[in-house]
Symmetry: C2
Subunit: 304 residues, 2 copies
């Protein structure tokens, strides 16, 4: 399998990242962050989520964020996707009212995480997506699928490739155009990703899969590197490593976009992203949050 010549970076910092940061970020600052990411060349950004605002207060202003983005003439680029997470039909309808053009749904490969995180079984979560998927199909809205805990679960322990495959196939059968494989607690190694992709690629082509690696155990780039060798050409990442890790004290969560882009550049793989500007965006949002960046590249390049 040839390593891809270009990779699409899916920037999840404004949603998956900020959702897990304790410091509040204003609507205007979220819009600025997203605009800065676009200015750095990022072409796919998960910009918000339409979940219950009581469950996730950090995302309660997603409709205003999208309103702010829509009113910004610099963000009306045909090559730009600004997506939102939608857990159910109600969330999907709110997203449509806010002018969102692409959405994502979120399932778990482990029952334990599904129960604790979204309070239902995996089967129930998939059933909940059905009316949403139908509405999206009717309205021509593309839906991305996330699977969490594709290697390990904080409650159930090890997760097998077979478990991931079942959920992945269900999401594709429902109409997801792509499934992002999330190592939510970052326990996976290159060996785990090889075994996972060896299995999934029996049924699925690499161009329909993305990887979403957390750097909790420092393994994210090695796992992404391994996934590239399987032809995976879509990589989720979070600027400045925004998001932390709720399952391991003091540890990092989402792999930093800067670190991914640095690696891809060194491998001669294009992303369309200006690394220096991306590092600047990571520094700005870290300063705003009043915390050091979780990007190794950001730290190495920092002069302060």
């Amino acid at each position: 399998m040839a390593i891809p010549q270009a990779v699409k970076l899916v920037e999840v910092g404004p949603r998956d990242g900020l959702q897990n940061e304790s410091a509040p970020v204003s609507t205007a600052d979220k819009v600025n962050l997203i605009r800065d990411l676009v200015d750095a060349g990022v072409s796919y950004i998960e910009a918000g989520s339409f979940v219950n605002p009581r469950s996730v207060p950090q995302m309660a202003d997603s409709d205003q964020v999208f309103a702010g983005l829509k009113s910004n003439p610099g963000l009306n680029l045909p090559s730009l996707t600004l997506a939102a997470l939608t857990p159910n039909l109600k969330g999907f309808e709110r997203a449509m009212q806010a002018g969102v053009t692409e959405v994502a749904v979120f399932a778990s490969a482990s029952e334990g995480f599904s129960a604790k995180n979204i309070n239902c079984t995996i089967a129930e979560s998939l059933a909940r997506f059905q009316p949403l998927m139908q509405a999206a199909l009717d309205q021509g809205v593309a839906v991305r699928g996330y699977i969490s805990c594709v290697v390990g679960c904080p409650y159930d322990g090890e997760v097998t490739p077979q478990q991931v495959d079942l959920v992945s196939r269900a999401l594709f059968d429902m109409g997801c155009y792509e499934v992002s494989l999330g190592d939510t607690i970052g326990v996976g190694t290159a060996g785990h990703f090889k075994r996972l992709l060896d299995y999934l690629l029996l049924h699925t082509s690499a161009d329909k899969l993305a990887v979403h690696c957390h750097d909790t155990y420092g393994q994210a780039l090695a796992n992404i590197c391994t996934s590239l060798e399987y032809g995976i050409a879509t990589v989720d990442a979070s600027v400045a490593g925004l998001g932390g890790c709720p399952y391991a004290l003091n540890a990092t969560g989402n792999v930093a976009s800067e670190d991914v882009v640095y690696m891809l550049e060194g491998m001669g793989i294009s992303t369309g992203i200006d690394l220096d500007r991306l590092i600047g965006v990571g520094q700005s949002i870290s300063d705003l949050l009043g915390k050091p960046t979780n990007s190794n590249v950001g730290r190495a390049r920092s002069t302060s």
Copy 2:
């Protein structure tokens, strides 16, 4: 090329690590650290260096460290190598008096680093090794070679595989049994290591090469993972990521041994090392130094 089934971890924390830590560590604590590493299953440790004590005061007690190690009955294992860095014949003779059984020499792939770090040209540094190599040959002492700045240099910028190859071949010609490729400032990516190994392996077999990756840009594990695919089966690492990075503020230096062993375990590659015990050693030395560990795995597993 098949990925190796077993990897030899060369633990450089007690030398390369502590040499770059500002906090002083007593001779007894150094001996304890090395004993704890051996207890965790580490079979090759760089335990000290016989350089000018005025240049590197942290290593001024290396003869006492080796005396302490020799008097410890638990460390007289036939499978254990306790090595020392020796810059010249004088250092080699001091090492022999201290009972060292294996030594290492250190050259740079870049003229700028050679000038600043060891105050001579690359050719002069190689010439300086000649009497040392002859003495080692006469006494049947194995010599390992290090090359620093194999990808980039803090003074000269980019370093080509051709430059590394010239120094590597000189070290082999002199009698080094192995050459460790050091990405001293951690700027290399998987792409750089591919290009480097593609070139070096035209002339050298993989079993004579080791990789010595720094995690400054977060790339170390991806680079090691890539090197494994070239058949490299010897990996340098530093427990708790001891050593920091003198060339980038706030950045990490040596890749942490815990992170390497965690990855290798996940890939089904044996090291003979007990990861839980190694994590404990990393925590203990970090506590002693009064600083947080630089191991991602150590942080993720930490409960405090």
